[in-house]
């Protein structure tokens, strides 16, 4: 592969760098893109409410 080829592929290689960087970031923060588990986020009840029904196993 020559330098001219690298220059010709610069857009693809640049795209690859962006995609791979995103992949690395996602793996570092535990982000699975295609997740079959549907998760909702909400600012929930207070800690004391939960503790009221605390069941230790």
């Amino acid at each position: 592969m020559s330098w001219d080829d690298l220059k010709g592929l610069k857009y693809y290689l640049g795209f690859a760098v962006v995609v791979i960087s995103f992949y690395i970031y996602s793996n570092l923060v535990g982000w699975r893109w295609l997740n079959t588990t549907k998760t909702t986020h909400e600012q929930g009840a207070s800690r004391s409410h939960s503790r009221g029904y605390f069941y230790h196993k």
């Binding site: 592969m1 020559s2 001219d4 080829d5 690298l6 220059k7 010709g8 592929l9 693809y12 290689l13 795209f15 690859a16 995609v19 791979i20 995103f22 992949y23 690395i24 996602s26 793996n27 923060v29 535990g30 982000w31 699975r32 893109w33 295609l34 997740n35 079959t36 588990t37 549907k38 998760t39 909702t40 986020h41 909400e42 600012q43 929930g44 009840a45 207070s46 800690r47 939960s50 503790r51 029904y53 605390f54 069941y55 230790h56 196993k57």
Partner: protein
């Protein structure tokens, strides 16, 4: 012939023609009556050409290719003897570099120059490798000159009629072989866009013949070779595999909670609450595995993973069912007694899980295990797939274009006959 060494008076019309190529010129046409003549003897057998054509690049015009200035010495129109299509060739000359050609067909150009040593001995029948390129035979033909104007360093008319021409292409390059009983001449060529030709001669591109279709040596894409894209793609794939091995190897997969819950311990409560556990190491994934000893039964639960510091809840549900039996002499089963839920991007902190279970008919218990920092393969496959789109589209496009390119050839590798 009459006159000095560098002028010739035409016997047809008497016009005195200056010979720009001096002693190198072996044939030329009269500037006035267009009569074709060979130096040293008159061409008494041939009358003036019946076909008429005008060169798009004027004779005497100078153009620069790879830093070398060439002058247009001659112009010929050739016709293939079998299919009778015509193309145009310009003879170029530089005192230091010698001669070269510009060949034009349907507005597609090739800059062609003779090479001292051919890529192969004799005339390869089909194809050959040379200088990292795979050359395929594109056409083999005889041609006749139907029009000539200017000066030539060989008898362009007789030479054209006595030779068999082979053209081997590896776009943007072409090797041409002109072979007759006495000699073999190899030339190498490279595709030039109309813009490059116009720039070389300093003339407007609109004065050149309009480009029609794709030139037979026109590369599918300029800027890189297909082999380089393959190498780059393989390098990226290897990098991706190495990265995935790295993430698999460094994922802690730490079990932060594991417990079993019995239905009878629920009493009048509606949900279980796990003991608290710490998630460490920054933002990471969490996987919750659920197992229920089901026998033709189901189990469903809503889960709330709760950050005890911020109160943020991550809600999800899991439904598992398992059925089995014996029917028609065969045992069968469907479903599973296990299920898993994957929760992305959970910040570190102290957490517990609220579980809101719904039991089936006979099952009385279930187990739950919470694992921190679990590796995932799906991102790897998605990334590889995304990165493969461009090479895939490129090679599909290349295949279509190449098949189209070879439609005009008798030696197409894309026909299955």
């Amino acid at each position: 012939m009459s006159g000095s060494n560098y002028t010739i008076a035409c016997l047809n019309c008497g016009t005195v023609n200056t010979v720009r190529g001096k002693a190198m010129t072996l044939a030329m046409t009269c500037a006035s009556c267009k009569y074709y003549l060979r130096l040293g003897k008159w061409n008494t057998d041939r009358s003036i050409f019946s076909f008429k054509a005008e060169p798009a690049i004027p004779l005497g015009k100078k153009g620069k290719f790879d830093g070398v200035v060439y002058e247009v010495m001659g112009f010929v129109v050739k016709q293939e003897t079998k299919y009778h299509y015509k193309w145009r060739e310009y003879l170029l000359f530089n005192p230091m570099q010698g001669y070269a050609f510009l060949a034009e067909y349907n507005g597609n150009w090739n800059f062609v120059w003779p090479v001292e040593h051919g890529p192969k001995e004799g005339a390869p029948e089909i194809d050959f490798y040379h200088e990292d390129n795979y050359y395929r035979l594109y056409q083999k033909y005889r041609a006749e000159v139907v029009y000539a104007r200017g000066e030539f360093f060989f008898d362009v008319v007789d030479l054209g009629e006595s030779t068999v021409n082979h053209e081997y292409i590896a776009p943007p390059y072409v090797y041409t072989l002109e072979k007759n009983q006495d000699s073999i001449l190899w030339c190498k060529g490279e595709y030039c866009s109309p813009g490059e030709i116009a720039k070389a001669f300093g003339m407007p591109v609109k004065t050149l013949p309009a480009k029609e279709g794709r030139g037979y040596t026109q590369p599918v894409i300029t800027g890189f070779r297909a082999g380089s894209l393959i190498i780059a793609s393989l390098a990226i794939l290897i990098l991706m595999i190495a990265l995935q091995f790295f993430f698999n190897g460094t994922a802690k997969e730490e079990v932060v909670f594991s417990g079993t819950f019995n239905r009878n311990e629920l009493k009048d409560q509606k949900f279980f609450v796990s003991s608290s556990f710490d998630l460490k190491g920054g933002t990471k994934s969490v996987e919750v595995d659920v197992y229920a000893p089901l026998v033709n039964d189901w189990f469903y639960a809503d889960f709330a993973l709760i950050n005890e510091t911020t109160g943020m809840e991550y809600n999800f549900s899991k439904d598992i069912e398992f059925y089995s039996g014996y029917e028609g002499g065969e045992s069968w089963s469907e479903g599973s007694t296990r299920g898993e839920a994957f929760i992305s991007q959970i910040p570190e902190g102290r957490y517990h899980v609220n579980i809101y279970p719904e039991f089936g008919t006979s099952n009385e218990s279930f187990s739950m295990r919470v694992t921190r920092d679990v590796s995932s393969l799906s991102n790897f496959f998605v990334t590889v797939l995304v990165l493969a789109i461009f090479p895939a589209v490129f090679f599909i496009h290349t295949h279509i274009v190449e098949a189209k390119r070879w439609e005009d050839s008798d030696y197409s590798p894309y026909t299955t006959e």
